[in-house]
């Protein structure tokens, strides 16, 4: 089977400073990520489909149900903490409280080392907290987090559209009618996951796999690779 090329991650970077946005964008590009930058928490929520392009303190705003933009997949959100009107922490909360986006890993950046701030963010569900200036080595630490969500999304797509060939880590087409093939492909996907995800993450990856209700027969598999 052909080993797929390293998947492209799409990162949404949020920072009110143009200087910092340029920096984080270049860093993410260097780390082989696709980048979208926005200058505020509101724009970020808009991009994620959690806001209808309306400022929260706009008195004339009509509240509508949010439209989820399925076409734009975001594998990670990296945001500055100190921003006017909506802080990185506020954005983190909004993301984690939304059903559509709560599984997107969120990373907070700050130029200030305030332990209370750091623990508050981590408690709210932030994956990591980076002190600025962020370096390439910091971003490389994020790959396993992004890989986890990307694989989860791919697997969900796979189940919904079985004839679609994925350009990511799944190397073969899934044939749900056949009894033998799906199991083999499933194991292949898991094998590739094992190679890319560190051993510490194995438990969470397996837990992720076992939640797919459409394949109850695979729940018992603990891959002996």
């Amino acid at each position: 089977m052909v080993m797929a090329a390293e998947p492209q991650f799409h990162v949404l970077a949020v920072d009110d400073s143009l200087f910092d946005r340029k920096l984080i964008e270049r860093l993410l590009q260097k780390a082989s990520c696709q980048v979208t930058t926005v200058d505020s928490g509101y724009k970020a929520l808009e991009f994620l489909g959690l806001r209808e392009g309306v400022e929260i303190n706009d008195p004339d705003a009509v509240s509508t149900s949010p439209v989820i933009h399925q076409e734009v997949e975001v594998n990670l959100i990296i945001t500055d903490y100190c921003m006017p009107s909506m802080t990185g922490y506020d954005l983190l909360k909004e993301v984690k409280e939304s059903s559509a986006c709560k599984n997107i890993p969120v990373v907070i950046m700050s130029s200030e080392n305030v332990p209370a701030r750091i623990s508050r963010c981590l408690e709210e569900g932030a994956e990591e907290f980076f002190l600025k200036p962020v370096r390439l080595a910091d971003l490389n630490k994020l790959k396993p987090h992004m890989m986890k969500t990307k694989l989860k999304n791919q697997k969900l797509e796979e189940i919904e559209t079985p004839s679609k060939v994925e350009s990511g880590t799944v190397a073969a087409v899934v044939e749900p009618e056949s009894e033998v093939e799906p199991k083999q492909i499933y194991l292949q996907v898991v094998q590739q996951e094992e190679q890319t995800v560190s051993n510490n993450k194995r438990k969470s990856v397996e837990e992720g796999l076992s939640t797919h209700r459409s394949r109850p027969r695979f729940e018992g598999i603990t891959t002996a690779v």
């Binding site: 400073s17 143009l18 200087f19 910092d20 340029k22 920096l23 270049r26 860093l27 590009q29 260097k30 100190c82 130029s111 200030e112 600025k132 200036p133 370096r135 390439l136």
Partner: protein, 144 residues
Amino acid sequence: MQRQVALIKQSLFDQGYLDEQFVELEELQDDANPNFVEEVATLYFKDSARLISNIEQALERGSFDFNRLDNYMHQFKGSSTSIGASKVKTECTMFREYCRVGNAEVFSLFRTCDECRCLRTFKQLKKEHATLRKKLEQYFQASK
């Protein structure tokens, strides 16, 4: 020309104007982004000129609003750190410390001392900042 570039760069590091963060930025440059460092340096000096002007205005008003000054300095320190402007960063840190102390100061006489320290530090900061700007301009010019 190459030698001149190397000399300018070396003196910037030796004299403590730049630190290893600048090297990190240079490593982000490649064939697709050959002028990245110069571009961010331009953004930095645009930002910092604005902050210096804001701080000067705040100081000219006579009454020291330590909170506001600290806020400006927080931004200034942040971007100075990100570009590797070592001396400027140090002056920002000192300024913020005097703001912190001055803000908590009860005795007006001591508060005036803190204000003086702030002014002195700010003067030094502007000097370091101007020197860095000039030297980096020379460096980028020589690199072309």
